[in-house]
């Protein structure tokens, strides 16, 4: 075995890594925000919408959960292109990741809704709350609190999965590593470096979600329930 690592030429190009990490983070944040909104709406539509809407949301979830992310990305990329839209790789990547994580969010939120006992909803109704108020105060907020850990794991997974968007030349972290390894012939070093960047990004995201959780869910903060 003759392993000789030389990080010098790879690390010389550190600004490229930083740019890539920044783009990965932007993709993750955008897809998390829009994907969460999409997923929450679909979960509501699936639970309380008219049959056609519930069916549509269900079909969306199944279609996304049962096809590879890379294929979804290509579908958005070439689909939009053939419709005559010319969007940047970044926009296409953000869009595809949003659609993808939206489906998983729908499922997680649905599990959260289902975990709220019927008696809770009845108690809300009996106190005079309107349907909408029951939805917000008795269903959505407690469900969110319950599934928050599952949601945040999903969002971190999404950030890692964004590496696939290098395939459509979005200039995120993995694309940067691909480029640097072909430029320097230091493949192993390039990917070790990029792995460390991903680790750091995961850590930052988990830390952010932890802090956000403390803000959003005072009960967890007060009772010290782990997030």
């Amino acid at each position: 075995m003759n392993l000789r690592l030389d990080f010098g030429v790879v690390w010389e190009r550190w600004p490229l890594f930083v740019d890539g990490a920044w783009m990965t983070l932007q993709l993750a944040v955008l897809a998390t925000l829009f994907g969460f909104a999409l997923g929450a709406l679909c979960a509501v539509g699936r639970r309380s919408g008219p049959p056609w809407l519930a069916g549509l949301c269900g079909a969306y979830v199944e279609a996304i959960r049962n096809t590879p992310l890379l294929v979804q990305i290509f579908l958005v990329y070439f689909g939009l292109a053939s419709l005559g839209f010319s969007l940047s790789a970044f926009t296409v990547a953000a869009l595809a990741l949003t659609i993808n994580v939206g489906a998983y969010t729908t499922e997680i939120m649905r599990a959260g809704f289902d975990s709220i006992p019927r008696g809770q909803l009845e108690a809300g109704e009996c106190l005079g709350l309107s349907q909408r108020q029951v939805y917000w105060h008795v269903l959505l907020l407690p469900a969110m609190e319950r599934v928050y850990p599952a949601l945040t794991s999903q969002f971190v997974l999404l950030m890692l999965a964004s590496s696939v968007t290098s395939q459509i030349s979005a200039e995120e972290l993995t694309a940067v590593a691909n480029y640097i390894q072909s430029d320097t012939y230091r493949a192993f070093e390039s990917y070790i470096t990029v792995a460390v960047f991903y680790l750091a990004l995961s850590f930052v995201m988990r830390l952010g979600f932890w802090g956000l959780g403390l803000l959003l869910f005072p009960r967890r903060r007060r009772l010290g329930t782990p997030l």
Partner: protein, 250 residues
Amino acid sequence: MSQPTSSSAGPVVALRDVHKSFGSLKVLDGVSFEVARGEVLAIIGRSGSGKSTALRCIDRLETIESGEITVCGHRVSDPKLPLRALRLDVGIVFQSYNLFPHLTIEENICLAPVTVKGRRRAEARETARRVLGQVGLGDKLDSYPEQLSGGQQQRAAIARSLAMEPQVMLFDEVTSALDPELTGEVLRVIEQLAAGGMTMVMVTHEMGFARRVADRIVFMHRGKVWETGPATILEAPETAELRQFVGSGL
């Protein structure tokens, strides 16, 4: 105390020949009874005899097939009934407490006054303090439900209902999930409410309590009001079914 919505002369709750089925299962088979203002009615009977269903129909958690229900002047059996108006007049407490787990006791109590009645938060807090004092939980404002014992949670649930100043309170086996000691503390709270003149309908298995607190007893059997009268019917039942029920309960 706010004034009743209807003339205070008539009954607060009235069921007339109410029929209700779940699929092919007839659960209420011509149920009629009335509750006057300030009266305490206890509904007793075997499990499955339709007690909970009768109570749930009063608050329109279930709809009925035929018959008539009026509550505080609201025609509950009318499909076009504005539900909110009914629910402002009726408070209901369940066996499983149903406190909202993500809110403190104070927030649980303030939620409806603020969102439904549009009370200011400070005012709602004042109410929360008052009703919690009433049920002996003045020191639990900032606790979360899971930090309380079952008996305390049930008293908090009663306080949450009281904060809406209902005209009538419904209790569905509110002590069935509690051990005897905690049962006692909840029953004392209900007894105080009764003494304070609250109109109440309670489904209960606590025979001693029903005898002591109820002005009138309704014994349900197979979806019918099998026997009804003052608490003395428990000592001298007319029907074999009530005799057997009272006997088995001891």
